[in-house]
Symmetry: C3
Subunit: 317 residues, 3 copies
């Protein structure tokens, strides 16, 4: 059996981890990136494709694919859901992640505190982030301090979604749900490094939040204990709603305000790029395993243990 993925996002993380656990690996790679990935020792693992959606038609009977953020971006959730790719993780969660209403329903079912949504500008009682419909990729929105400022900045002919803007520190926590051990592990914490929100200076009051990288973070231990419970609650919430489990990595994307309230504004139901900062180990995974454990390796370890238990199919969808 091989472990494979497409050449983007966290492919280096995933495939180096698979190799560390003794697996053969496959990298579906476009021509322009061949040299880059070869420089990291993956030359002999490359299967060249001209666009990533070719993997939908590529025979790969013995390969388990590890999905990451670029799968949806390049192939699309619908086509992935309709495909017969052997993906590690829960495809159904992808559907809940892609749909704003389902996403909010899951976060609320899990008991997470989420930012308020305002139906109309006259309901606004907090700072807000106002997005035009269809906005994506960290642009196409503005932030307003209150209803008056929001009103001023909105155009009458435009549809908007209005969400509470929580003033506080960004915290992204990644988890690993292990079926082999029937437990939810806190893997690590990080901060997205965003342009130009994280610039030293900016000459307007509308930062953009385009992720260029990630910074490592540890949490106060009492705060970490809260996030541990949130991760468990998230898994249980999904189980209640769907009767299904969440094998593998997921991420809760949060803001902590000055009252120490933790607002979850987003989740990801698969490996996130923030785990790349924790190669070859995070403090939390080291505490848990007593050896260097990065996310790609954690995934491969789980696959190996499930194979030994004859249960791998439970983690594939």
């Amino acid at each position: 059996m091989k472990i494979g993925t497409i050449a983007s996002h966290s492919a280096l993380n995933i495939l180096s981890g698979a190799r560390a656990e003794g697996f053969d690996v496959v990298l579906y790679c476009t021509p322009g990136r061949r040299k880059f990935y070869s420089a990291f020792g993956l030359a002999d693992a490359i299967v060249e494709v001209h666009s990533f959606d070719e993997i939908l038609d590529t025979p790969m009977e013995d390969t388990v694919l590890i999905p990451h953020g670029s799968f949806v971006a390049y192939i699309g959730a619908d086509r992935i859901l309709a495909s017969d790719l052997r993906l590690f993780g829960n495809k159904e969660l992808l559907r809940w992640e892609e749909n704003r209403a389902l996403k909010n329903r899951l976060m609320r079912e899990a008991g997470l505190r989420v930012p308020r949504e305002y139906a109309s500008v006259k309901d606004i009682q907090t700072p807000v982030i106002v997005k035009t419909y269809g906005a994506a990729g960290g642009q196409g929105y503005f932030i307003a301090k209150n209803a008056e400022e929001a009103q001023e900045k909105m155009r009458p002919d435009q549809l908007y979604s209005i969400q509470q803007y929580v003033v506080g520190t960004k915290v992204f926590v990644t988890y690993f749900r292990s079926l082999a051990h029937d437990r939810t592990e806190v893997f690590g914490a990080d901060i997205r490094y965003e342009t130009d929100a994280d610039a030293n200076l900016r000459f307007d009051d509308t930062p953009s939040f385009i992720v260029v990288g990630n910074l490592p973070l540890v949490l106060r231990e009492s705060v970490l204990a809260k996030y541990y419970r949130m991760g468990e609650d998230f898994v249980r919430g999904f189980q209640r709603l769907t009767g299904q489990d969440i094998p593998g990595p997921f991420c809760l994307e949060t803001i902590i305000d000055r009252e120490q309230h933790i607002y979850t504004f987003e989740f990801s139901g698969r490996i996130v790029a923030g785990t790349n900062i924790w190669i070859p180990t995070s403090p939390y995974s080291y505490l848990q395993f007593g050896e260097q454990m990065w996310m790609g390796r954690r995934i491969a370890r789980e696959i190996r243990e499930l194979m030994e238990q004859g249960r791998l199919e439970e983690a594939l969808t």
Copy 2:
């Protein structure tokens, strides 16, 4: 002999390090945190308590306790000082840390540059941080650019302490004072991640400084050399004032301004949570030991070496 601590702050750091050095460990843990600490492999080390101050009445003849920030927060400095707990480190330093006047006296004796204290608003010559008496936990104060702004924000019926607010970058440096080797080691540097001071946006001019986590930092080597001397000066200052040593970890909490002056505004006489970012190693501890060395392990290594030298009692108070 066992190494123990209470289930908060840096307990994972401390106990994982003790185990790495071959010690049995004890975790005094409240019921609500049992599951969290069990998830990190500490289930069989847990002694359940309903509140942390129960350890004052718990028999633990062969256990050395490693105090951390939550000891004072949950039990109180007075009761710790009056107890017969076998603590690693110097209890007397705790007394100097808890009392603002003693604290300043020690920092000045050590030759550290400290922010100015202003007796009255009319003396103000710099930006200031103005605290109401009894304020704690990163709130209950405001920052003012100058005397005029401070005057405006102060209420006539309220007592305040007025301290210079140093504009610059936050730098927290942790040290380890080894009796076994008679030396002061620089262990690592970090930055507190504070809400909402470290938020991307804030709609007022009064940030709060509530610590939610820590970020890793290395210093310019010439700056590191200065901090090394400051750590040595701190130990010598305490020795001059009390005739006693400071076994184990301590931390200097500083701001570096644009003139590259280093202001020390606070110290901690025990392990700080900032060392959690350096699990399993910091660059500085790796340079020193040539192996992965986190603070919990460093403490346990010292205890082991002092036992081998028959000198452990010197480090317990």
Copy 3:
């Protein structure tokens, strides 16, 4: 053969790496720093000098020196270029780095996007950073939002250089050019921690950019692939201009704006202090080598491999 350097900047990084690869080491150290470097196990490697430029007259027939940022600062580019020191790396690159016109020529030849230079205040079309001639060390300049603001802040009797100020996130990427493997490796990414640009508060609109340390960073994998190409382009640009190679470490100093354009505003043709954050390993070097690899060790590994190939002289100038 020994590996040596002067006691500053990244000396701990360099010499610990040399030892890890089995080399004897020499540290040219001033008296005031002897204790600091001894604390890191280098006591027996110290050759005391009263000022660093004494190394110009110190016999060291079998020692290869690893130059770092303090060489130019303490000894001067001219004297280094005129000396017969056996330096690892390309001295000629030093000349291109020291001269603003040559520096820009090399960056443009390499196809890097560089900030615009404005000949006159009336040409300004972007935010600008305006420097008085002779300014150095992160001070002696101001930032202006546009031509009007620049005009206001400039004094008629003063000469200035005017450069586009790019609003965005700071990203410093370090590379290692290996002659032994004929390849350019991405070593790591970091962020300079600067006072008071990175302070939580500042009461003026002119931040200073005095480096006090470095923070670790990983880049989005697609962004990393771009930086990989930029590193290769930089080497090829220098080869086209001079017919020479760049053995060893170099660094591109960039800003990413909200359009995701990467502006290179500076480069360094030798080890930078930012690599100190990646002791004992960076994610990228770990992915490449499958073991802990910091920059000092990478340099020593290259020297050892070139010696085995009988080609060390190619990397010395």
